[in-house]
């Protein structure tokens, strides 16, 4: 049994069995090792729903963990449960997929939403010098962060000459539905030039659909994904490039911040600066949000080396 001296930090994810979160967990462990007296509890529900996540929160409260770092399935639904946690003296932060301000001390964005929104459009635009039609294939229609990014993307769209966002469809993070939606896009918009999928299931399915439709070279699939998942499609040319922030760093940072706040080494008021080990430091912005780093772009040149890692 862990000595009570330790700080016990729960890394609570949307649902287990997702490469992205597995990587984040490894990052958290890394941080724990650096910090020494920290135990990481990596956990999550079966289904990616708020109700299921609340059950896990209750269990964590009961264990009197010192901190909960959550990537939420629903920004609002988990608030009451997290508030109860805070009432019981547990430090709560959210990361990746955020929680409404009243439900946590601070939120760590993998990167600033503006940057991500901008990046996913840029990824497409870079390969469309004289403009063209792009469509977005998102996760579920209720996925918070995807929706924010799409919003941001819409904002910056005018800055990109001739890039025309023709549709936003939802693949619900189901491979068959995403695949079908991608096929639908290719049919509805015969001269589509790029599909942007800011979600890993979606981008993989879309790349596959493009490959199967024999449209490699015509349609560039891009968006957010893990190198390990996209390496194949980069080489096949279905995808020129894609971006992701380093999930290991994200988990690492979340653990660092949770630890700092739980041990009182730091506070999370607007303007405060919290050190996050090798990643550097973050500054708490308005309504308690902070951004970790810029998304990093992967293409044929570097995808393989990272595919080994995450």
């Amino acid at each position: 049994a862990p000595a009570q001296a330790q700080t016990r930090i729960a890394l609570l994810v949307k649902s287990l069995g997702n490469g992205f979160f597995e990587a984040a967990a490894r990052g958290a462990e890394e941080a724990a090792a650096e910090l020494g007296d920290v135990e990481i509890i990596y956990t999550g529900p079966t289904e990616p729903t708020a109700e299921a996540q609340i059950e896990v929160i209750n269990a964590l409260i009961a264990q009197q963990v010192d901190a909960i770092a959550i990537s939420a399935n629903d920004p609002d639904a988990v608030v009451p449960a997290l508030q109860r946690a805070m009432d019981r003296g547990i430090t709560v932060i959210s990361w990746d997929s955020g929680v409404a301000p009243e439900g946590r001390a601070m939120h760590l964005n993998p990167s600033s939403n503006e940057l991500i929104g901008n990046t996913i459009i840029r990824l497409a635009a870079d390969h469309l010098p004289e403009g063209g039609e792009v469509a977005i294939l998102s996760a579920t229609a209720t996925a918070t962060n995807q929706n924010i990014w799409i919003e941001e993307a819409r904002k910056v769209l005018p800055e990109y000459e001739g890039i025309d966002l023709v549709a936003v469809v939802y693949g619900d993070d189901l491979s068959d539905k995403s695949y079908r939606e991608a096929q639908g896009l290719m049919q509805t918009y015969p001269n589509l030039d790029a599909i942007i999928a800011p979600t890993t299931v979606g981008i993989v399915a879309a790349a596959q659909a493009v490959t199967d439709a024999g449209k490699i070279g015509e349609i560039n699939v891009t968006g957010l994904a893990l190198p390990s998942e996209m390496a194949g499609h980069i080489h096949s040319g279905a995808s020129q490039s894609f971006a992701i922030w380093n999930p290991i760093d994200l988990g690492y940072s979340a653990a660092y911040i949770a630890h700092a706040l739980a041990t009182g080494e730091a506070t999370a008021n607007e303007g405060d600066i919290i050190g996050i080990g090798r990643v550097g430091e973050v500054m708490i912005g308005e309504n308690g949000e902070a951004a970790m780093s810029d998304p990093f772009t992967y293409d044929a040149s570097n995808v393989d080396e990272f595919a080994e890692i995450f």
Partner: protein, 334 residues
């Protein structure tokens, strides 16, 4: 029986006292299982035996269990309702929608319950009115109801429920005793009486055993089934109020995939999925068992999906074991 005695004059009411048969009953087995799990948990985790923890744990199942009470009656009558979770979604959406017009808490609750009843009535109409198989009907309405919620809400969420509304899902009646728990236990008593102490309940059993003979016996089969579906709808409405209040917000994905957990609860409770047999008491214990198991494993940070393996195994073995035991007994006897 005929072999036992030839004189018709002395047919006893029962062969053994109700008490003795109770000892052999399914419920007894469940109680033992429940106690076993409780003890196991308290050894497995130092955090288990803490009133607040246990109180929190009850929130994990009270809403489902409330639906299970009505579901038990539907299943005993030989039908099933897989749309309950979607009814929650639709009812909750309706409440959130009304919220936009700034209605007060009582009205909110009323709306939630009404929508529940309406959905139940729709199912009931299709099943008992048109005589359609409930399992497929409710698989359909399952998508239909939630689908409507999606059309209304899309990717939006309804927030900002009045603070007094929070009581239903977050309030405590006394110390660690939550309102949800009290309401569940109260409803359990009500349903126990309805099912086991009234002629309505008796009719439900009769229908589940043999709908035709029940009809020939002057039981209004269709009407009773209709009522049962409305009852399930109503309880889903209640659950919608509680859950919405507990989450403090509404999204169309609310209560996703709950229907199977509710059915699991009912079946664990010893209700025959084929209809005609079961008891409310069993369902109540089953609810606590499932709550205890998931919470206990949660304390050990067993991943949710592994937990579900456990529930699956429990479901099969709890239903299967008695059969096996009977077989083995028979073996030894022979």
């Amino acid at each position: 029986m005929s072999a036992v005695s030839h004189s018709p004059r002395n047919i006893p009411d029962r062969l053994e006292s109700p008490f003795k048969s109770a000892l052999k009953s399914w419920e007894m087995l469940l109680i033992i299982v429940a106690i076993a799990i409780f003890v196991a948990n308290s050894f497995a985790s130092p955090y288990f035996l803490n009133p607040w923890s246990l109180s929190d744990a009850t929130f994990n199942f009270t809403e489902k269990a409330i639906i299970a009470l009505a579901m038990a009656m539907v299943i005993i009558s030989g039908e099933i309702d897989l749309s309950v979770a979607s009814i929650i979604a639709l009812a909750s959406t309706a409440m959130g929608f009304a919220l936009q017009f700034g209605v007060d808490t009582p009205t909110l609750v009323a709306i939630g319950l009404l929508v529940g009843v309406a959905c139940g009535a729709f199912n009931g109409m299709l099943v008992s009115g048109l005589g359609l198989p409930s399992i497929v009907v409710t698989i359909g309405t399952m998508s239909l109801f939630r689908g409507i919620a999606y059309i209304v809400l899309g990717d939006q969420a309804f927030r900002g429920y009045p603070s007094d509304f929070a009581f239903f899902g977050q309030g405590y009646v006394w110390w660690v005793i939550s309102f949800e728990l009290v309401l569940f236990l109260a409803l359990a008593v009500v349903f126990y009486i309805i099912l086991h102490r009234t002629s309505f309940g008796r009719s439900v059993f009769a229908i589940g055993n043999n709908p035709v003979a029940a009809q020939f016996s002057g039981i209004r089969v269709r009407r009773i089934k209709f009522i049962l579906f409305i009852l399930t709808g109503l309880m889903s409405g209640v659950a919608a109020v509680l859950l919405t209040s507990r989450l403090g917000s509404t999204r169309p994905s609310i209560a996703f995939a709950w229907e199977l957990e509710v059915v699991t609860m009912v079946v664990l409770g010893g209700v025959s999925i084929l209809g005609g047999a079961g008891s409310i008491f069993g369902v109540v214990i089953a609810a606590f068992i499932m709550g205890l198991v998931t919470f206990g494993l949660g304390l050990l940070n067993v991943p949710g999906i592994v937990m579900s393996i456990f529930i699956g195994l429990m479901l099969i073995s709890v239903i299967g074991l008695p059969v096996v035991i009977r077989r083995v007994r028979a073996r030894m006897a022979a």
